[in-house]
């Protein structure tokens, strides 16, 4: 049951309505049952996997809280190992197995273990990380262990953010799940606004860009340089609007129920460098890596060599989080490399901090540079394998075609450009905040245009949310 599906359009108003009708003490049951139905609509039996990690981390946290500091660590490690083992078996085992087979074949060591070929449970990486953040916070003493098994289960399974985030922290979500939520029109308005905006981003912009991106990545050799470049810039927008759309709908659904989820994006393509980009892109994941990997490794309060290695560890793990594939590892590697290089150049040149008359132009150029850079790095993310990535780069830097049959519908340009202009230049803040400040007529005109666009111009091919696969 994807957000952009008819069953969800029936499911979520029904849950919201029942939520406000039921007394507070029963609401968690409703939300938990709804979340189970939502999750089981993908692959029903996989709820048992989710249940396993919930039980392990619930039990681990309770034990940790009651134990001596030495034993606390033991329970933390046990919790992390079991939770990560599930993730490893489903997501990484086949990749490591194939890599080991390849290496052993190269060095002549006999090794024969069959792949598991298990289908990846939807959103596994997301709820695994959310569970891990809970046990770590309990271990650190920042969060009390949740005694109510149902409420804890709901923290892991809360349906709006179950399959693709934002990856919440217990301090934010767990606390809210215990709060009594009063019916407020403001919540309904804000939530609905966010949902509408999310649908627009995903269905009208991202899904209309997707066929062009797919075509370019499927047959790069058939297209000339400019078409391939268009395809790769389109992908930058497709993945942004797709994931941003999902997150915005998630935020909206939660808001309708009175819950506030964390923001996941802050105009990432306005970043001036990669460091800035990662403060704006998939914020819940980048802060997760910062808080639970980068800082414990010492962050930047270490020697330069150690700092560089910390950066590479974080980005390689981030690449691996997205998928068990060499292409994702390369994506993480190049992000780390450029991140480090930019940091050195920034301290040496310090151009953007100077009070130069040309500073606005320099900032604009820095934004453009970073967008182009991020777009080129997405090639490693989107490419199906190394051969495909090589074909794309080859076509970009070694063009032999003069013409091709790549034609883009005017409607696609219109929505892309108007959305970018609207998002970047007009708003400068979150859509729902901007909208709330507008006079009624302007506000409802915007709603009408968006609603009409979602109904009439949404992409027709079935493109699941890109981040569902992680």
């Amino acid at each position: 049951m994807s957000f952009n599906s008819i069953p969800f359009l029936i499911f979520f108003p029904a849950i919201t309505l029942l939520f406000y009708v039921l007394p507070h003490k029963y609401r968690w049951i409703l939300l938990l049952a709804g979340s189970c139905i939502f999750y089981m609509s993908f692959i029903p039996q996989y709820i048992l996997i989710l249940f396993t990690t919930i039980v392990v981390d619930y039990w681990g946290a309770l034990k940790m809280e009651k134990s001596s500091p030495k034993n606390r660590k033991k329970y933390l490690v046990l919790s992390i190992v079991i939770t990560c083992l599930v993730l490893f078996l489903f997501k990484y085992f086949d990749f490591f197995n194939e890599t080991t087979t390849l290496i052993c074949a190269q060095i002549g060591v006999p090794y024969r273990v069959h792949n598991l070929n298990w289908v990846l449970p939807i959103g596994l990486s997301f709820h695994t990380f959310q569970s891990l953040s809970y046990v770590v916070e309990v271990y650190r003493g920042n969060q009390k262990a949740e005694r109510h098994f149902g409420i804890y289960s709901l923290y892991v399974m809360f349906y709006p953010q179950l399959v693709a985030g934002p990856i919440e922290r217990p301090q934010n979500l767990l606390t809210q799940l215990r709060e009594y939520k009063v019916f407020k029109t403001s919540n309904i308005s804000e939530g609905s606004r966010l949902i509408l905006f999310g649908f627009f981003a995903k269905m009208v912009v991202a899904d209309n860009l997707a066929p062009y991106v797919d075509e370019i990545y499927a047959n790069p050799t058939l297209y000339k340089q400019t078409s391939v470049l268009t395809g790769l810039f389109f992908y930058s927008f497709q993945i942004y609007f797709d994931f941003f759309g999902y997150t915005t709908i998630a935020l909206g659904c939660a808001k309708l129920l009175g819950y506030n989820l964390m923001d996941n994006f802050n105009k990432p393509y306005l970043a001036k460098n990669l460091s800035d980009f990662w403060e704006r892109w998939h914020i819940s994941l980048s802060t997760w890596f910062r808080d639970y990997i980068y800082f414990p490794l010492g962050g930047n309060k270490v020697s330069v060599a150690k700092w560089i290695s910390n950066i590479f560890i974080v980005f390689l793990l981030s690449g691996l989080w997205h998928g068990a594939n060499l292409t994702f590892l390369l994506w993480g590697f190049f992000h780390a490399l450029i991140f480090v290089l930019e940091r050195f150049l920034k301290t040496k040149l310090n151009i953007l901090n100077s009070k130069n008359a040309w500073i606005t132009i320099l900032h604009a150029l820095a934004i453009l540079k970073n967008f182009v850079l991020a777009s080129f790095l997405w090639i490693f993310f989107r490419g199906t394998d190394l051969a495909n990535i090589k074909q794309i780069f080859n076509r970009i830097f070694n063009n032999t075609l003069q013409q091709d049959s790549f034609q883009i519908d005017t409607k696609v340009w219109f929505f892309l450009i108007s959305f970018i202009l609207f998002d970047v230049f007009v708003l400068n803040k979150r859509f729902d905040f901007w909208c709330a400040d507008q006079p009624v007529l302007v506000r409802w005109s915007v709603y009408a245009v968006m609603l009409f666009s979602v109904m009439v111009f949404s992409g027709v091919q079935n493109y699941p949310f890109i981040y569902f696969q992680f």
């Binding site: 994807s2 952009n4 599906s5 008819i6 359009l9 289908v119 019916f183 407020k184 029109t185 309904i188 308005s189 269905m203 058939l222 075609l401 003069q402 013409q403 091709d404 049959s405 409802w444 709603y447 009408a448 609603l451 009409f452 979602v454 109904m455 009439v456 949404s458 992409g459 027709v460 091919q461 079935n462």
Partner: protein, 500 residues
């Protein structure tokens, strides 16, 4: 709280008004364009009324697929019209489709049409599990969303929110593999395999043996395809195809149409050769079930299951219902005979084996004359009519058996040509091939024949046929555009000059 609910109700009311207001806007400005983009097959249904067609033939690729050595490349429907020269027959073809799609296309034939009789292709394989949940099913279901009998805006919303049978290829595979595993096959005699999975596995492991007792792996692979495609027993309660045909029967009753189901041929000869009685038993059992069920419902069923011999099936290494000329004619003949029930006085016996010896061939690129690479036709440019052919990298291709034109000494080729940009490497290709002839590939640079104009221009070329032509089997003529430049051709004429 009460105030909040009032405000919310008012806002919902405004939303409702907006949606009601959107509906005529969508109908007027966008619906037709969406239909043309997402369900272009509807044009074939719409065309039936102005054509004043009294009989409609609807089918999938079996209707129009041809083999390169066919003299007459017309469709089954067109062959049927030879038997009824005074009746106007309309054709609807949607490749890779099935009765569920045919139902929607038939339903969209305008009510004020002259249609009295409908001939519907009934493909036995379309009742099989792997066809019901083939990877084509999701796009097919998407194609018919806008054809359904619902308000246009609602249909567009359903299209955007995937309000149809959407499943991933993997999910569909799981469904049909489960059926292969769980649906028990029942035979009158004891048979060693209970279901498709077991049977297919046994064949795959043990293989099909040739006359010397060696395993023939190609035949084995083909046999596994045959098992997966034909080893099933139709359950009239659960098989969705039965529901589709039942819907067509109901529709015909409602529209007062005569109905003929054309149960098209399967390669039963090959099935028998590979797997013998058990498989042909199942095929014939299913056939009998369909005949009885629909004849009981007043439908005339043309039984063509065994009408085409193995050598007239185009694909020899796959299961398909693509027939060479003789196969299409055999089916047409049977259907035409069934049609006599409704048009006894209009039937004319036709000698379909008659081959008209032609030396001049013309294709206006409108789609009526069937050559190879028809998918190259486009509406983006045209010299005459509404369409032309692109060449990505091949244009529509003339392919013709040379048996009656072997005494030709040259061929005159003329066509209209449009290049949007300066091109190079584009060639006019003439290929001559045959078992006893030296393979001859000749490519004439278009740049040597055309000016640099970016407007339509006439191209003419005379090619003296090589000596090997006298022993050849097939000639092909096409434009080859290896660099995929945007070029178009139209009104292609090929004229063979016979030695006197």
């Amino acid at each position: 709280m009460k105030k909040d609910i009032k405000i919310l109700s008012f806002k919902l009311f405004i939303c409702g008004l907006l949606i009601i207001g959107f509906s005529p806007v969508y109908n007027y400005f966008f619906y037709e364009s969406d239909l043309q983009t997402y369900s272009p097959a509807i044009n074939q249904s719409y065309a039936i009324a102005p054509q004043r067609s009294e009989i409609v033939y609807i089918g999938e690729s079996s209707n129009i697929t041809t083999r390169s050595d066919d003299f007459d490349k017309r469709s089954i429907g067109e062959f049927i019209s030879d038997y009824y020269p005074h009746k106007k027959i309309g054709y609807i073809t949607k490749v890779a489709s099935h009765a569920g799609i045919f139902y929607e296309l038939l339903r969209n034939i305008p009510k004020k049409s002259a249609v009295k009789t409908v001939i519907v292709t009934m493909n036995l394989r379309s009742f099989a599990a792997d066809w019901i949940d083939s990877e084509l099913e999701t796009p097919l279901q998407r194609d018919i969303v806008l054809l359904k009998d619902r308000p246009p805006l609602l249909k567009r919303i359903l299209l955007g929110f995937k309000g149809y049978d959407v499943k991933t290829d993997k999910e569909r595979q799981e469904i049909f593999k489960k059926k292969w595993r769980e649906e028990k096959l029942i035979f009158p005699k004891k048979f060693s395999h209970d279901n498709v999975e077991e049977w297919e596995h046994w064949i795959a492991v043990n293989g099909i043996k040739d006359s010397l007792g060696n395993v023939d792996w190609k035949a084995t692979e083909l046999a596994t395809h045959y098992i997966k495609s034909y080893a099933f027993q139709i359950d009239t309660h659960t098989n969705p195809r039965i529901k589709d045909f039942d819907n067509i029967v109901e529709l015909a009753k409602k529209r007062n149409w005569n109905l003929i189901f054309n149960l098209i041929a399967e390669n039963t000869e090959k099935a028998n050769q590979l797997l013998g009685y058990p498989l042909t038993y199942l095929m014939n059992q299913n056939k009998e079930l369909l005949l009885q069920r629909y004849q009981k419902n007043g439908v005339f069923v043309a039984d063509n299951l065994n009408a085409v011999t193995n050598k007239d099936f185009i694909e020899q290494h796959w299961t398909s219902e693509h027939y060479a000329e003789r196969g299409r004619k055999a089916i047409a003949e049977n259907v035409a005979e069934k049609l006599q029930v409704f048009y006894p006085k209009d039937y004319r016996r036709t000698d379909t084996t008659d081959i008209r010896h032609k030396t001049v061939f013309f294709n206006n690129c409108e789609g009526e004359t069937k050559w190879e690479q028809m998918q190259m036709l486009t509406i983006h440019e045209h010299f005459s009519g509404k369409k032309s052919s692109q060449a990505l990298p091949y244009s529509i291709t003339f392919a013709y058996p040379t048996i009656f034109i072997r005494n030709a000494d040259s061929v005159y080729i003329s066509f209209k040509y449009l290049q949007k940009y300066a091109t190079k490497n584009v060639k006019l290709v003439i290929e001559v091939q045959g078992e006893n002839a030296t393979y001859n590939w000749f490519g004439k640079e278009i740049n040597e024949l055309a000016s640099k104009s970016k407007h339509w221009q006439a191209i003419k070329f005379r090619y003296p046929l090589p000596e090997s032509f006298a022993k050849s089997d097939l000639i092909k003529v096409y434009i080859y555009n290896p660099d995929l430049h945007q070029i178009h051709i139209d009104d292609l004429r090929i004229d063979f000059k016979i030695k006197i």
